[in-house]
Symmetry: C2
Subunit: 152 residues, 2 copies
């Protein structure tokens, strides 16, 4: 059970931008260097995020990437839905390609749908500002995440 | 966001066995033929399920695979936890291999943990008997899953 590396990098790029002081501009090279990620890989991620309307790109000297909306207006559920290329938990979620013969009388699919909805409902509660720790987030801060280091 | 094919096939095998009349025995060849899955692939899945204590194997004529416990005593959450080889939604879930520099002051991880817990909490409500439609399941039958065909 994993999100794709593409989603992972998309979220890292967005969090990086969300934390910048105004006007919140950064270059691909700067972000790639910070995250030790291939610049080519990050270009693909940035293009996708720009196409989805999460970031915008300014060319020329002093240009770079910046959020297209305030961080508090970017939902984490929205980002994951748009960056995950495959939300089909199992084969039968995709009717055209499904080969499973159990589908006509199997409740597993309904169970997995319900679980996926629960997953996305949690992400829909939070925004990029929450993930970047820029907003008050009492729900998150009360979570018993033992290996979560304190804020620095 | 996908479960592995290994988990998908594990669930299919278990559902197949759960639906058999007593004594609930089936051969690998029979299940592979029904699901049109490679026999070698299914052997690996069956060995894993046997090692995890979900099924048992009887050798010889009249032998085969059968559930090691009643279907109502096999939780779907338990199956997914044991068959998914990687529950690390994103890189930072695995501390030893994490390369993300945001980890020390990032709430994304806590958000994703909460979402994953919500996902597993749903699966923990249901058993193999529910998935195989062998038990009363009013919660599932009330789900608005539009593309779920009626039971045959």
């Amino acid at each position: 059970m994993q999100l794709t590396q593409f989603t992972d990098l998309s979220l890292r790029l967005l969090i990086y931008l969300a934390r910048l002081p105004e006007p919140g501009l950064a270059t691909i090279a700067e972000i790639a260097d910070y995250h030790q990620i291939s610049r080519n890989h990050l270009v693909k991620v940035a293009n996708s995020l720009a196409n989805q309307g999460f970031i915008m790109s300014t060319r020329g000297k002093g240009g770079g990437l910046q959020l297209a909306r305030p961080a508090y207006a970017i939902g984490l559920g929205e980002v994951v839905r748009r960056t995950e290329q495959n939300m089909n938990l199992v084969e039968c979620f995709d009717i055209p390609s499904n080969q499973c013969r159990l589908i006509r009388n199997c409740f597993l699919k309904a169970t997995l749908y319900e679980a996926q909805r629960a997953f996305m409902t949690v992400l829909d509660k939070y925004t990029l500002a929450d993930a970047a720790s820029l907003g008050a987030n009492t729900e998150l801060s009360s979570l018993p995440v033992a290996d979560m280091p304190p804020l620095t």
